[in-house]
Symmetry: C2
Subunit: 404 residues, 2 copies
């Protein structure tokens, strides 16, 4: 008989967001009348902008014509889109052939684990997006689960006490360092100086940084870096993962990219990009051609204007939530250069799932328990600013009524 892959058995049955949905459904069974508002999963809610939707529809219709039809494209993506990403979003700090188009950051993160295999040691921010660790567990790069996370993973606490940036001097060396800025879930954005320290640390340790920049366009302070490649020397130590999901509402359309610089090499001198290319040509067949035409439209002049408007809408939501939480006596972080607000009640020692349950039961508002993002997330909740304005306003009103 076929044995179960022992690495899969290590993963707890509940990935964070399915567990939230389970609790929400259970609550609705007992309170079918409740109108639940979700500030939980970071799922986009606003319609696509007309320009981008038109480009998608045009690309689809065009596939029904002989001159417009296309079958398999380059697994690495449409050359025009790779070029546009390099020029518009990276201002030429990377080359188009270093951009690999994908069906989203989560999928790329899964493939990146395959790139490094089960021998690679990893460090993650704590708290952070669960996929870095779960993906490493799947490939066998970690030990078993404990109360303090998975054995073999270096958790780098990022808390209010250290201003959400790890103390690098006390950290052991790892092969990979996952780093997400603006961070999901804390909303913290690393400064240029901090990222310089991180790049220097990676250089000194001969580590590779996997930099998740999925929320970079939410950064409005001009001194804060939007890409790791704004840091000198990053091209020798960093891969960057990003996505159109939270830029233009493509969570369902599926489009992202990954930057693997030609200058990033293994210890034997082999360029990492060579193996990455082998992986994307072997077990991936490119992002949907329709989605890629939407991405192209998002990067022209009109698309950029519309993208900014979509992001501004979400950021206004974030400020509404942040202000309300501060006023209600929460310690609240993020929500300025990020769509996420990271909050705990001042002067209380309580478990994340307990506050989650309380808000669900008293306000019918779904949040995300901070403990799901790592051991240092315990006691916090993540509030997502993705939602219709009136829902966000109503959620905030309910919280004001029940928590004041």
């Amino acid at each position: 008989m076929v044995h179960r892959n022992p690495h899969l058995a290590k993963l707890a049955s509940g990935y964070l967001f399915p567990e939230i949905n389970r609790r929400k459904r259970e609550f609705l069974v007992h309170h079918p009348e409740a109108k639940i508002i979700s500030l939980g999963i970071g799922n986009t809610t606003e319609p696509l902008s007309p320009h981008i939707a038109h480009a998608l529809a045009y690309a689809a219709q065009h596939l029904a014509t002989r001159e417009g039809y296309s079958g398999y494209g380059d697994e690495q993506g449409l050359p025009a889109l790779r070029e546009k990403i390099a020029h518009v979003l990276y201002k030429g700090s990377i080359n188009p052939d270093e951009v690999f188009i994908s069906d989203g950051a989560k999928c790329d993160l899964g493939r990146l684990q395959l790139l490094f295999g089960c021998q690679a040691t990893i460090a993650v921010q704590d708290p952070t997006y669960p996929v870095y660790v779960d993906g490493s567990v799947l490939i066998g790069a970690t030990g078993h689960s404990t109360d303090h996370g998975f054995k073999g993973v270096v958790y780098m606490p990022c808390t209010p006490e250290n201003n959400f940036f790890p103390n690098l001097t006390t950290l052991p060396r790892t092969d990979l360092i996952y780093f997400c800025s603006p961070n999901n879930p804390t909303g913290a954005v690393a400064t240029k100086k901090q990222l310089e320290q991180l790049v220097a640390f990676a250089k000194q340790n001969k580590s590779i940084i996997i930099f998740d920049a999925a929320y970079s366009e939410y950064i409005e302070e001009p001194t804060l870096p939007k890409s790791i490649y704004e840091i000198d020397g990053a091209r020798e130590v960093a891969i960057e993962v990003s996505s159109f999901s939270k830029l233009i509402g493509f969570t369902g359309v599926r489009l992202g990219w990954c930057v693997v610089p030609q200058t990033l090499c293994y210890d034997d001198g082999t360029p990492v990009a060579k193996d990455w290319n082998r992986i994307v040509t072997t077990i991936f067949n490119g992002a949907s051609n329709i989605a890629q035409h939407g991405g192209l439209a998002a990067l022209d002049h009109q698309g950029q204007e519309e993208m900014k408007a979509t992001i501004a809408y979400t950021k206004k939501n974030a400020r509404i939530i942040r202000s309300a939480l501060l006023e209600l006596g929460f310690d609240a972080y993020g929500g300025i250069n990020s769509p996420y607000i990271w909050a705990k009640r001042l002067g209380k020692t309580e478990k994340s799932w307990d506050i989650f349950n309380e808000l669900l039961e008293t306000s019918h508002v779904v949040t995300t328990p901070g403990s799901g993002f790592g051991p240092s997330g315990e006691g916090f909740l993540r509030f997502s600013a993705f939602g219709h304005r009136e829902d966000v306003e109503e959620a905030v009103q309910r919280l004001q009524q029940t928590l004041r």
Copy 2:
């Protein structure tokens, strides 16, 4: 410094199709005037049918409306599409919740390797689609490459001598058995009796069959099984992978599916579907919502008619190629219930790449060398029937002129 993943180093640099493109480009450098016709890679060329393209375009436009917008959907796919696949394509022999929608069979095959991990032993048809072996190499389930394939992989010769079905009585047990029918590249279709033997063999050995049915709709003989689930007992031993790519020309749109029956379990009793669900929710985020609406349209009455017409077009191409090759003194197989023709010259002992080069140089026709599909493919070429009719006719004319 980070070490290179040793499994990646095992893979030869050239995946078959990039190597073909390289030779084609090199030929064009020296013969810029040549009008090359490709019967090589199985890439679709005909425009999408209007009904399906309209559904795609409508879905895209609908995303620009508040009521039509959707963000993250279920990672497993749209419930309506899962249901329609179970009913229309499987006539109810599987349940909708056993269907997992994906961005294509190749991508699913990559994730399936992750499901079983590096401990799983594998068997493949020889010749066969290279991704089964390459994906296994990536995950570390094989040894090094040799002249006769990768160590640790059981190659099951499928040749004219055994009527393209392996002699199961001489085979060792493996955890996984990859089986593709209609086979890529040979075009051979396993009979019901043969698949009954295969299922019995898997049961006896407590193996899992990964059945690739990507070309099943090309089967026209009603006695030949289109799905492994037409065989009694297959629900306990088989996963089926399939795709819209060659059904409706979605090679660029990206849409496929995978069937994991609830009744398929590991030796500890854990349902395989539980782990598969964990994988698709952890490192995959669902197929593009636009593509899924195209898949839905393909499965309604009009879509089914159009799908049949598209397949009939390709199959007519296949018969043209097959007839010409037979007439030219080739041993030619497939091309009846399959878009591929598998051929070698009668009475000659020659290498696949040599015939490939000869046809490229004399006829400016690109084929696929059979040796790229496994050790038993040496000496053969695969001719793909995907192409515009006039190109296929011209390619055949050229072959008649140069080879006669």
